[in-house]
C-alpha cells in the first residue's frame, strides 16, 4: 500500500481516520492523542469553561430527504457542543461555492440554516465565502465552528464510562446514512426513510438534570453506533455489551441494509446520541428522553460489563455473541 496517498477511507470516521489523526494531524498540530479526543475541546478562560468545535460538510447530494447540507452543518456543530454538556452560543459559517452553482439552491440552504440555528438557539455571528472554479469543488462545501459554555458541575467525558453503566440511545439507528445513500444512488427501494438530522441540545439539557449520573454523551455520526461505542470503550478502558434485539431500527433501514449488505451499527446518524448513565438512574434518564420529541423511541441498548482494554461485543438477536470493531475502510462515502 502506498503510504503517501490520502484515500477516501481516511475520511470515513473509522479506523483510517483515527490513524491519520494519530499519526499525522494531531502530533503535528497539538500533541494530544486521539483516544483522548472528544467531540469538542473544552477550554478554560478566567474560570469559565468553554466548548469549542469545528466541522466541515461535504455531503453528496446536498439535498436529501429530511434535510440538506445546511441543516446538517448547523445541527452537527450544535451537537458536537451539546455532547460536551455545553450550551451552544455562537457559530461561524464558511461557504465554499463551486462556480455555476444555483443561486436559488444556495438561498434555500441558507434559509434552512437560519431556521435550524434559530431552533437550536445558536447565533450565527461570523462567516466567510469563497468561490472556486467549476470542477474544483462539488457545488457547495460548508465549514461551521461553534462555541458554547459548560456550566459548573457538568463533567461529560468519553473516559467516564464505568462498569454497570447503561447505554441509552434516543431513537432508531442508521436513518441518515440510508436516506443519503438512497438519495445519492437514486435507489428506488420503496422506503420513506428520512435523515434524522436534528439539534440535540434541547434533549441534552433535559439529560443534564440527571447531574453526575450522566457520564458520557456522544453522537454516533460517521462510523455509526459501533465505531462511537468502540471509541468510548477505548477511552474509558471498559467492555461494552450491546443487545442486538434492543437496537431501535426502522424496517425500511433494515430492509435497505439487508439488500446492500450493510450493518446498521456502522451507518451514520445525525440526530442521535448515546448516553452512558449510572445504573440506578438509567430508567429515569430513559423516561426523560422518551418525554422529549427527539427521544420517543429511546431505548437501553446495552451496558458496560467489564474493565478491559476497550472492547465492544454484541449479543446477537439469535442469542450468539460476537465482537464489534470500528468501521474499517469506507462504508459509505461522503455522508456528512
Amino acid at each position: 500500500m502506498d503510504k503517501d496517498l490520502i484515500l477516501l477511507g481516511h475520511g470515513s470516521g473509522g479506523k483510517l481516520s483515527h490513524q491519520l489523526l494519530d499519526e499525522l494531524i494531531i502530533p503535528t498540530l497539538s500533541g494530544i492523542p486521539v483516544a483522548g479526543q472528544n467531540d469538542a475541546a473544552v477550554v478554560e478562560h478566567n474560570g469559565q469553561r468553554l466548548a469549542f468545535t469545528t466541522d466541515s460538510y461535504v455531503v453528496d447530494p446536498i439535498f436529501f430527504p429530511g434535510g440538506n447540507i445546511g441543516t446538517l452543518a448547523v445541527n452537527g456543530t450544535v451537537n458536537d457542543l451539546a455532547m460536551m454538556g455545553a450550551r451552544p452560543l455562537f457559530m461561524s459559517v464558511g461557504l465554499i461555492l463551486e462556480e455555476g452553482m444555483s443561486r436559488r439552491e444556495l438561498a434555500a440552504i441558507l434559509a434552512s440554516m437560519r431556521e435550524a440555528a434559530d431552533l437550536a438557539g445558536i447565533a450565527i455571528v461570523t462567516g466567510d465565502t469563497k468561490v472556486v472554479p467549476r470542477g474544483k469543488a462539488d457545488r457547495l462545501f460548508i465549514n461551521t465552528s461553534g462555541v458554547g459554555v459548560v456550566e459548573n458541575g457538568v463533567e461529560i467525558n468519553g473516559c467516564n464510562a464505568r462498569v454497570g453503566d447503561r447505554i441509552i440511545i434516543n431513537g432508531t439507528i442508521g436513518d441518515h446514512g440510508i436516506a443519503v445513500l438512497a438519495a445519492r444512488e437514486g435507489l428506488e427501494l420503496g422506503t420513506d426513510v428520512e435523515s434524522d438530522c436534528a439539534a440535540l441540545n434541547g434533549l441534552v439539557s433535559e439529560l443534564l438534570l440527571e447531574g453526575d449520573a450522566l457520564h458520557v454523551l456522544r453522537d454516533p455520526t460517521r462510523g455509526g453506533v459501533a465505531t462511537t461505542l468502540k471509541e468510548i470503550a477505548i477511552q474509558s478502558k471498559v467492555t461494552v455489551t450491546l443487545r442486538e434485539e434492543a437496537l431501535p431500527l426502522k424496517s425500511g433501514v433494515r430492509g435497505v441494509c439487508s439488500i446492500l449488505g450493510l450493518d446498521p451499527l456502522y451507518v451514520a446518524n445525525e440526530g442521535k446520541l448515546l448516553a452512558i448513565v449510572s445504573p440506578e438512574r438509567a430508567d429515569a434518564a430513559l423516561e426523560r428522553m422518551r418525554l422529549h420529541p427527539l427521544g420517543r423511541d429511546a431505548a437501553i441498548i446495552g451496558e458496560v460489563t467489564a474493565v478491559s482494554d476497550g472492547r465492544v461485543q454484541l449479543e446477537t438477536s439469535v442469542g450468539g455473541m460476537r465482537g464489534v470493531e470500528m468501521l474499517a475502510g469506507e462504508q459509505l462515502p461522503r455522508i456528512c
Binding site: 484515500l7 439469535v318 464489534v324 470493531e325
Partner: protein, 363 residues
C-alpha cells in the same frame, strides 16, 4: 409477517441448537461441515452461530467469496485498463480495495483513475450510453448468481448498439471446486452447506454428483440464522444415518432444476473455460468466458493493454484459508500487517471474505 423476523427468531434458533447438541452428544470425533458461500460465512460470524454449536460440530469456510478468489493477475489487468485515457472502470464496491501485484483500484482512483462503484451491471451500461466518448469496462466478477445479470448487460448493450461497453470477466462456477475440496484427504469434509442464491440459478440437482458419487451429504441452505441452524441439523442427521443425499432446506427460493431462463442466458453469452482461483490454482472448466459471438464486449480481447509483471504476496495464507485448511487466526499476517484498511490478501477485503468476517466479528 415481514420475512425477516421469522427467520431470525431466537427461540427457533435455540431450539435447533438444543436438538443438534442432543444429536451429537457423546461423539468423540467432530463433524466438519464446509459452508461454500461468503454470505454464509458472514451470516455465521454476524449472528455468532459458532458460539451456539457444540464442539462436536465444526464449521469451516470455503472459497465462495468471488472477490477473494479473484487472482492478482485479474486485478493487475483491471488496473492497467484503468490507467488508459478515456476509460472508466465500473465495478461492485468490494473490488476497489483488492490488492494487485503492486497497487489497488482504490489507490489508482486516488491517483486520478476514473473508477465508479455501481450496484448493477445495467448501471454500467447506462453509463456507457450516456458517455459515448468514454470506454466503460465493467468488472465481471462473481459466481452463477451474478453472471446472468452480467450476461444480461451484454445483451442490453447489444440491443442498444453500444460500442463502448466492455466486460472484463473472472466468472467462476461453484460445483467443480466443491468436488475437488471434497476429495482432499487433508480436509475430510463431512458435509456441505451448499450456497443459497447460486443454487437458485443452478438448482439443487447440480450437487447430485457430489452426494451420489463422492458420498458427501449436501444441504442447500438459506442465509438467515434459522436457515443455517436447520441446514446444520439436516447435515448432522445425514451423517448419523450414514447417508449422502442432496437435501434442500431453502425450498422457498431454490428448486431442483434452478432458474432455467438464467441458465439459458448464461449458455448464450458465456462459454466454460479453465480459470485461476486465488490460492487454489487453475481449475479446469470452472470459469465462464464471453462466447465468440459476443467477443467484441470482452475487454481482455478487445482492449489490448500491457499488464505489469505478476507478483504474489509473501506469507499470505489466503490459499490455505480459502480451502478451509487453516483458520484466519493461524495466518501470521492476520490483524497484524493484514487488516481491512491495508489488506494483503483478498480474503481480508471483501465484506464476505473469511478473514474480514473473522476480523470484524470473530476477535
Amino acid at each position: 409477517m415481514n420475512y425477516l423476523d421469522e427467520f431470525r427468531d431466537r427461540q427457533v434458533v435455540l431450539g435447533f441448537a438444543e436438538r443438534i447438541r442432543g444429536l451429537v452428544a457423546g461423539r468423540t470425533t467432530p463433524m466438519t461441515f464446509m459452508e461454500i458461500c461468503g454470505t454464509h460465512t458472514m451470516a455465521i460470524y454476524q449472528y455468532g452461530i459458532r458460539s451456539l454449536l457444540p464442539a462436536e460440530v465444526r464449521l469451516i469456510s470455503g472459497p465462495g467469496c468471488p472477490v477473494c478468489v479473484t487472482p492478482n493477475g485479474y486485478v493487475d489487468r483491471a488496473i492497467a485498463l484503468a490507467r488508459l485515457p478515456g476509460t472508466v472502470i465500473a465495478t461492485f464496491g468490494d473490488m476497489v480495495r483488492v490488492p494487485g501485484s503492486s497497487t489497488s483500484l482504490m489507490e489508482e482512483r486516488a491517483r486520478g483513475a476514473d473508477i465508479r462503484i455501481v450496484y448493477s451491471p445495467l448501471d454500467a451500461v447506462a453509463l456507457a450510453a450516456k458517455n459515448p466518448q468514454l470506454r466503460v469496462v465493467f468488472l465481471g466478477v462473481g459466481f452463477e448468481t451474478t453472471a446472468p445479470a452480467i450476461a444480461g448487460s451484454i445483451l442490453a448493450a447489444e440491443q442498444r448498439g453500444l460500442a463502448n461497453y466492455f466486460v472484463l470477466t473472472a466468472h467462476k462456477t461453484i460445483p467443480v471446486p466443491m468436488q475437488i475440496l471434497a476429495a482432499d484427504p487433508e480436509l475430510s469434509i463431512d458435509g456441505y452447506l451448499c450456497p443459497a442464491h447460486v443454487s437458485a440459478i443452478i438448482g439443487a440437482n447440480a450437487y447430485r454428483p457430489l452426494a451420489e458419487e463422492q458420498g458427501v451429504p449436501c444441504v442447500v441452505t438459506g442465509f438467515e440464522p434459522t436457515d443455517v441452524m436447520q441446514g446444520v441439523e439436516m447435515l448432522v442427521r445425514q451423517v448419523l444415518a450414514g447417508e449422502s443425499r442432496v437435501e434442500n432446506q431453502y425450498r422457498r427460493v431454490v428448486t431442483a432444476e434452478g432458474n432455467v431462463r438464467a441458465q439459458a442466458v448464461l449458455a448464450q453469452v458465456f462459454t466454460p473455460c479453465d480459470v485461476e482461483w486465488r490460492g487454489i490454482g487453475v481449475i479446469p472448466g470452472s470459469g465462464l468466458r464471453i462466447a465468440e459471438p459476443y467477443a467484441r464486449y470482452d475487454a481482455e480481447c478487445a482492449i489490448p493493454v500491457a499488464v505489469e509483471e505478476l507478483r504474489e504476496h509473501r506469507g499470505c495464507l489466503c490459499g490455505e484459508i480459502l480451502k478451509g485448511k487453516v483458520s484466519p487466526f493461524a495466518c501470521p499476517l492476520f490483524a497484524t500487517t493484514c487488516t481491512p484498511e491495508a489488506p494483503v490478501g483478498a480474503c481480508m477485503v471483501s465484506s464476505e471474505g473469511t478473514c474480514a468476517a473473522a476480523y470484524k466479528y470473530g476477535r
